[in-house]
Symmetry: C2
Subunit: 162 residues, 2 copies
């Protein structure tokens, strides 16, 4: 995966946490997510299509998900309910949307966010797609962002830009 | 979700299992997937964008995944390895691709298949999207297909067809 794809996602996540949650993130070193990168209890997953196809995975601990939902919903969330699930999905959607606008030349479209929850699950990419995992730390704890994108080599279906 | 969206996915799954795996499926009654539909050990997940946005989830037991991978790869698979994960992803991709071709008027695009694995996980849709779960039975055991699609109400970004 080309590095030019990654930076817009890192900036999008950091700016979303800063502006919407007043939570500063510190990005660690991006690394190939070989096999089984760390997953927290809740992972927002969103599909990307267009001039590149792939998936964004935002993985949060229960603690961060509750803090984020409480801030977004302006009411205390103390357990993982539908509102918290929706908040994690919406955060994932916002991060993907911000990154998309930075990658305008690829004419990306983003799908619906799904949220995977559980104590022990894996989210795997096709083995011919090298996804990149970026660990982040924050005052609320650690989180990870994983992005796997493959360039589309066939003629892109959308009409060329005027 | 409109029922016209569902039938192409049901046909696509049945025809994929019949033609590629020589396995006949019997579809049960589609039902709203409220909260927590049955999940098996492996779920192929693929994002859909275009004139409707959403996600397809194909959930298989380990037994079915191994049988399907053994047939597709023409060699016996006895444990969940990268080849089996890729086979589940590829099946999901083929089902989504066949359904897409039946829903041509929506100009759908499909993302990369991811595969979720684990013994206890949930895959949640945004609470304002009513996904539909279709249970299937087969000689290899039960499986489920879940589809959640939302119509896009904003002007569709792609150029109009000539």
């Amino acid at each position: 995966m080309r590095l030019e794809y990654i930076n817009p996602f890192v900036s999008a996540l950091s700016s979303t946490f800063r502006t919407m949650l007043s939570c500063e993130l510190r990005a660690g070193t991006p690394q190939p997510a070989d096999g089984d990168p760390p997953r927290f209890e809740l992972s927002g997953v969103i599909g990307i299509t267009g001039g590149a196809v792939g998936t964004l995975v935002l993985s949060l601990s229960e603690k961060i998900a509750l803090r984020a939902a409480s801030t977004l919903l302006m009411m205390e969330s103390t357990e993982i309910d539908d509102d918290v699930i929706d908040a994690v999905g919406e955060l994932t959607n916002i991060v993907a949307g911000r990154a998309k606008s930075e990658l305008e030349e690829y004419q990306l479209s983003i799908g619906l966010p799904n949220v995977i929850s559980g104590s022990a699950y894996k989210i795997r990419f096709p083995s011919n797609v090298q996804s990149i995992c970026i660990p982040f730390t924050s005052e609320w704890g650690p989180l990870t962002l994983e992005v796997g994108l493959a360039a589309v080599t066939e003629p892109f279906e959308c009409c060329p830009l005027a």
